[in-house]
């Protein structure tokens, strides 16, 4: 039991339970499977990005450029499938190639020129986004193919509410879950994954131990790029429009969700479970406020308070831990 309270995740989980209880007493519609499936689907976009951000943070870096990568990915994909046709497979391939390529550029700059990751990725955010807007002229894309429209409605299984409304596990949500499982396996059970933790814990020691630092960084930023690409695709599926200016600007929101889940910006710590909880917390707060008929104006105030209290609390805990004592005779 004592061990349990050493983990940041426990506290986040408690907060989630308390929030859920409050929301449910005010509006019982919150605690329905239908609402949950719905919520999971609409937060897959942030959820997928958060997986990438978690891995970057564990490796001791930070990535700001992912919103631009996601935008570029979905835009290129939309333009190509409209112009040349294709299917879901080509769409995934396109966003993956774009995402990984842009992520690799980040990794190369970070590794070879030793530029702080935050600076590199702020710069590339502006570069990727600027070029996209200039080339696209900022035009929105609406005329997505039918198969693209239909794909978004696929459910792995379907249930029915008492009123006869259909709901179920969307393929989009399933994709998010699959990504979490894959990322978890990589982090937990592969040499590469342990290398990411090791590098985040101590870059020097990792280098001396013989880890391939360039390889690991390449993976971390390409994986972030891949996640961004897929998230871009998911966003396009969810809203069925591709708007170049709808994603950029949300980078700090995603990072906030990950940080709420306990990943440290100093690197080396953080878990996917924590990240899921962070995203969940953000999701039920947004959803809960709506269900409790609180004006959406209050959304940021609540999120801000939760962030400040959460980071303040864990900082306070860390400070208590540092206080040292020695054994004094006669005490």
């Amino acid at each position: 039991m004592k061990n349990l309270f050493k983990h940041h995740e426990t506290y986040v989980l408690l907060v989630i339970i308390v929030f859920s209880a409050i929301i449910t007493t005010i509006n019982p519609n919150f605690l329905t499977l239908e609402n949950f499936f719905d919520l999971a689907k609409s937060y897959s976009f942030i959820g997928i990005l958060a997986v990438g951000v978690t891995i970057v943070l564990i490796s001791g870096g930070i990535d700001i450029s992912f919103t631009a990568v996601a935008t570029v990915g979905e835009y290129v994909m939309a333009v190509m499938v409209i112009k040349y046709g294709g299917n879901m497979f080509t769409a995934v391939l396109l966003v993956a190639v774009v995402g990984i390529a842009l992520g690799m550029i980040n990794a190369v700059l970070i590794y070879f020129f030793n530029i702080p990751t935050i600076i590199t990725t702020i710069a590339t955010l502006n570069i990727y986004y600027g070029i996209l807007i200039v080339i696209s002229g900022g035009k929105w894309i609406y005329a997505l193919p039918d198969w693209f429209r239909n794909f978004a409605d696929i459910r792995l299984f379907t249930l029915r509410t008492a009123q006869g409304l259909e709901y179920g596990l969307s393929i989009i949500t399933a994709t998010w879950f699959a990504i979490i499982i894959i990322a978890w396996i990589i982090l937990r059970y592969t040499k590469l994954g342990r290398g990411i933790y090791a590098m985040g814990g101590s870059m020097n020691a990792a280098r001396r131990a013989g880890f391939n630092i360039f390889g690991i960084q390449m993976f971390v930023y390409s994986f972030m790029g891949l996640m961004a690409g897929i998230a871009g695709l998911v966003q396009a599926l969810l809203v069925q429009t591709v708007a170049p200016n709808s994603i950029v600007g949300k980078e700090l929101d995603v990072i906030a969700a990950v940080v709420l889940g306990g990943a440290s910006l100093a690197g080396g710590s953080g878990t996917l479970f924590g990240t899921i909880l962070g995203v969940t917390l953000i999701a039920i707060m947004g959803n809960g406020l709506t269900l409790m008929r609180v004006s959406s104006f209050w959304y940021d105030v609540f999120i801000g308070l939760v962030i400040i209290i959460s980071v303040g609390f864990s900082a306070y805990q860390r400070r208590e831990k540092v206080k040292r004592t020695i054994l004094v005779e006669g005490e």
């Binding site: 814990g201 101590s202 020097n204 001396r208 710590s269 020695i326 005490e331």
Partner: protein
Amino acid sequence: MTDLFLSMKNISKRYTGVKALDRVDFEIARGEIHCLVGENGSGKSTLIKIISGVVKPDSGARIEVEGDVILHHHSIDSILKGIEVIYQDLSLFPNLTVAENISLSQTIASRSKIINWRRVREISEKAMARIGVHIPLDEQIDNLSIADQQLVAICRALTSEVKLLILDEPTSALTRKEVESLFTVIKDLQAKGIATLFISHKLDEVLQIAEKVTILRDGKKIETLPSRGLTDEKLTFLMTGEKMEYSRYTIDNRHEEPLLEARQLSIQGNFRDISFKLYPGDILGITGLLGSGRTELAEALFGMNPFESGDLFIEGRKISIKSVQEAIRLGIGYVPENRLVQGLVMNQSVAKNIIITTITRLLNKFKLIDPEKRQRSITRWIKNLSIRIPAFDAPVHTLSGGNQQRVVLAKWIATSPKVLILDGPTVGIDVAAKSSIHDIIRDLAGRGMGIIIISDEVPEVFHNCNRIMVMHKGRIIAEFDSTVTTEEEIQNCINMAS
């Protein structure tokens, strides 16, 4: 010596203009415990880097391991030959568990890309069993003591077929008891035929454990000697080429009013009932093991960690010190234990580091820093303490250890303190530079300052202090007048306690 493990002949290494190593011959036998000593810059670390394959020697060198000539020397070759180095920083991963850290080399070396957690535990358990230690496998490294971390690093080295273990300054962060158990481990390894080469600054330890000692000076090998029959003084002479004169420090000052008087100072969990008087001109030594509460006491006197009960008087006036700023105002200075982290802002200039304590005294009438006063103060202290620097705005890290410590002294002397507390004033400093630091300290005492030296080197306090207190588990357990005691008596007192 017939059973040679490593033999190196004619090893030279030249870095643009500087000869780090000059035609050094060096050998280690199987299962030997060998120690490498020398001042900073004598070429110790270059030699180790060549052995471990990180650095290539200049041409003409010949290195044989178990009779095989090594041509293309890379670090992986050394590892394959059974040579493992444990650097001073241990190169562990603070965020990973004990088991993962120990098994890491094996994980990286294995061809499989998948982690087998059962094997990770097996490897770690086996390595720990080899030296008979038990550290919880799932504990995270940053929750362990330095001594346990070191054992983890040794276990990691033992996961491969190690034949020569190289330890860089292994004892610098350990308490006496921990050093003893480390030495037991090294002896244990010796019984298994594993040789150990270690670098140390602490000569008494060198003489205790090593069978052979190799002395380097200015990149040249002076001699390799069996440790039996060697003494501290002899080793110091071989390392520096100079005979050290040890004079004792005595003073008659008891008739004066004490500068500082402590009555029963206590902080729960740190120290208890500490009482002493410090007279003008005193150099009071406080010794005892790491963790005896001596640093905590110093930090309390300096206002970093205010004491909870007891009384403190400065020149007869009762005071309480709640912050560092207050301590400085009352005339207390503190040279902390860790120069690199606590003592100096390494990336900033010598000039800034010197004036950091007195910046508020260098203002003009508009409360702005007066460039002239600033420059005058900097020049004065650089000159007074003969600090050798490449430039005023050269970062402190470009200076030698001895000069860095002078910068720390300068910034405290600049505050014209009444009481100066020095925690480990000569840690990691060359023997020659050490004695000049001691001269500065005596000179300050001679001018009426009250000085407290905290050190775990008994010879240091014995030679430089007129009074010595021994701390143990947060209490003062003995006090000696240096004119009527011996080094052995103090050492025995410490050993008896632990």
